[in-house]
Amino acid sequence: MLLEARGPADRSMRAAPGGDAGRRPPGSPSRPAAFLLGLLAAWLCGGAPAMAQGVSVRARVDRNSVAEGGQVSLIVEVFGTSLGEIAPPDVSGITDFDIVGGPMSSNRFQWINGRTSVTCSYTYVLRPRRIGSQRIPPLGLLIGGRTYRTEPIDVEVLPGGAGGAPGPGPPSPGGGAGAGPGGAARPGRPQQEPEGAFMVRVIGDVDARTAYVGQQVTLRVLLDTQTEILNLAMKDTPTFPGFWAEEIKVPENLEMRRAQRGAETYSEYTLMKRALFPTGSGTMTVPAMTYQIQVRRRSQDPIESFFFTPTETITRRTEPIAVHVQPLPATSRPDGFAGAVGNFTLAVTADRRESQVNDAIGVKVRVAGEGNLNAVNALPLPDLSDFKQYAPKVASSTSVVGDRLRSEKVWDYVLIPLAPGAQTIPAVRFSFFDPRAGTYRSIASPPIAIQVARGADGTSGPAGVLVSQRDVRQLRRDIHFIKQAPDGLRDRSVPLYRTPWFAALVFLPLATDLGVFVYARTRDSQRANARQRRERRARSLARRRLKEARRRMAPSTARAFYAEVAQALTEYVAAKFDTAAAGLTHDRIEELLISRGASEEDRRTFHRCLEACDYARFAPTSSGPEEMRRTLLAAEDTLVRLERSLGA
């Protein structure tokens, strides 16, 4: 028994980011029959992974050589006694061919002598991209949770007309290059369908193949079809390396247009629009985008066509698009150019023209126009010395008018006047590059005059600290100017320390100090000589006193006698020690004698003699000649002793 059933290759649609997931063209009806058929196919083809047994996969092509522009059918077959869940083969690795049709899937069941076998096949229509030996790489299939790979297949692509017959399917509708939308750029290559398949193609297109850095390039992705589209989704998230991409909204329900491609009429849908802004110079590439499209399948079975909705998921990919990006001209680039490319207008407004000191003024700087302002961050309002300026509040917005991105950026400043009088908000300049004219343009707003009155409390301004100060910039340097000589010129080649005056002034204190030193030494020397002289004369003075005492040695002059002896003794000590005799007491004399090393016997004799004299002077009744003679002898003996001991 041979049973062949054709079913949908995909049982579920991928959810594609960017709002392209699950788009359903208007008018495509929901078919419960398709769902039932899907369930049946799921049960037949992969209902239970555990059932996958004895699986083998094979890939083959219907011809091994093909002429340039021709087509070749790729058939991927899965054999097994029972197959689990099968995912369509991963054809993303096919880079040498364009997939212009497929996949078409079919299942075949055989039951021979009580043994069953299942064959599941996927058919793709490929068209080679270049001549020469091209290779279909190994294709992976996920069957029952395991991955199987096919063998690579080489296909020889011959120059046009030289090789094998063109592949099956209708002739190319719409012709060749140049038939793209808008005609501004080469559209995607016509994607032919195999016989019995559908004419569906996805075309990527940009409005300009040459642009400046920052200039908008609009990308459109179109879907041309001659069959009913049930659902579609992007396979991968679109990324645009080298571009700043802004989405241009397309209607949720795709709008259908009629497009004539040669003799063929297509239904055309715009799937996606992007405003692309190149961020660097050189050749930038808009990468290919892959769509998976669920279409109604033509069925030869009238019962199937009547009761069910046969569907099929096919894959379509756009061509990569190269865009040549030119750098912005380096010459004539104005100061303050912040990277804005497009065509913009500038407006500066103040919420009032009259204010008071410390009363805030709102100033809006608005830049708007066609182009992208996201890269513009420089503050357009310069520093103002007469206003305190706060960091502005920046708001930006974009809109799309006729597929062109329009941007608006508003810097909202708050300025506080610091001084009364007629103040001015100077002109604000904004520079941008106009890609249409190919030149830089600078626009400026007119200055805004602000009349600032004194504050409500009569203050003319804050006390100094609020003034926004700036560093004084040195523009250039030069030498200081020449000097004048109002007090006349003076030769200063000889410093003061090399003049004779300086030497004299240095010598003078030396001489003075030397003189003082000599004087002091001389004075000391003289003083020392006087003391020695007095000391030397002490004995003779004492003898003279004793001689006078001897002359008065009589009872009538006893008092004078003893006074002379006492004075002889005292003056002797005073002369010996160069001191005054008047202040010498017994204790002082004792100290002096001890200091010069007089013996105790001599000191005692001296004091005894002196005390005897004092006693006799104040009590003369007991003094006779003999007593006076002994006193005199004792005094002479004492002086001799002292002379000996003090002189030693």
């Binding site: 030069d478 200081h480 020449i482 010129l489 080649s493 003061l496 320390y497 100090d513």
Partner: protein
């Protein structure tokens, strides 16, 4: 008019016009005014000539040197300008204008000559001393010297231990100040008499010996300041702060 009267009139005219011409100006003051007038009129060469005449009279006023350096600078004679700025600075190290102009001129020379590393305290002291005029330092030295000498001289004539001790300490402190100020004066003397030379040519090759057939060690350019270490014939042995040294012909440099 008789010839004698004509001669008298001519002499009077010459006398009256004398201050107006550099060739006829006689006194340094007149020459200085003439030089300044020429400078203000942009006649820098004429101004430099007037200033140089003042110097030829033996009038080494720092203002004359400064103005001459300015005139040379305006003529693009960078080496001469630096030379005269250096000389003006030696005479009056406290003049900030000279320092500024010298720094500006040094910034225009081709050679970047690294200065020797000086520890901070030494550098600070040197900066203070460099800013002091030598005559002021002489006066300071004399003052402390006289104080010290007075205290020392009073010691022999003062009696009493306490008084003599106080005088002794005071004399020691004053003596220390005399030593410091004397050292500063000695530093200034060394600085004034230091043998430096300025390169006066666009470029000068420094050779390994005092003759032209020696190896070229390095090249210095106009305005570079060199330390003169020795002299032999018509050659100077010079060195840079980074210890590079060699010989240059004496006519290529000018002693500061």
């Amino acid at each position: 008019m008789s010839p004698s009267r004509l001669a008298l009139v001519a002499l009077l005219t010459l006398w009256a016009a004398a201050p107006l011409s550099p060739a006829l100006a006689s006194t340094p003051r007149e020459l200085f005014q003439l030089g300044n007038s020429a400078y203000e009129q942009g006649k820098f060469e004429e101004a430099a000539g007037a200033y140089e005449k003042i110097l030829a009279y033996g009038f080494a006023d720092p203002r004359v040197l400064y103005n001459l350096a300015n005139a040379c600078f305006k003529q693009g004679k960078l080496g001469a300008a630096i030379l005269y700025y250096e000389r003006a600075l030696r005479l009056d190290p406290s003049d900030q204008d000279v320092r500024d102009n010298l720094e500006l001129a040094r910034g225009l020379i081709h050679d970047r000559i690294p200065e020797a590393e000086i520890p901070y305290p030494v550098k600070a002291i040197r900066e203070v001393l460099d800013a002091l005029p030598v005559d002021v330092l002489c006066v300071v030295f004399l003052c402390v010297y006289y104080v010290a000498a007075g205290l020392v001289g009073a010691l022999p004539v003062v009696s009493g231990n306490v008084r003599r001790r106080v005088l002794g300490y005071g004399a020691a402190a004053a003596g220390l100040c005399v030593l410091l100020s004397g050292g500063a004066l000695f530093y200034k003397h060394q600085d004034r008499t230091a043998a430096h030379a300025i390169v006066m040519r666009d470029r000068v090759d420094v050779l390994s010996g005092p003759s032209a057939d020696n190896t070229v060690l390095f090249t210095v350019h106009e305005g570079a300041r060199l330390e003169v270490r020795n002299r032999r014939g018509g050659w100077f042995q010079v060195s840079l702060p980074n210890a590079m040294s060699g010989w240059v012909p004496s006519e290529a440099v000018e002693r500061v």
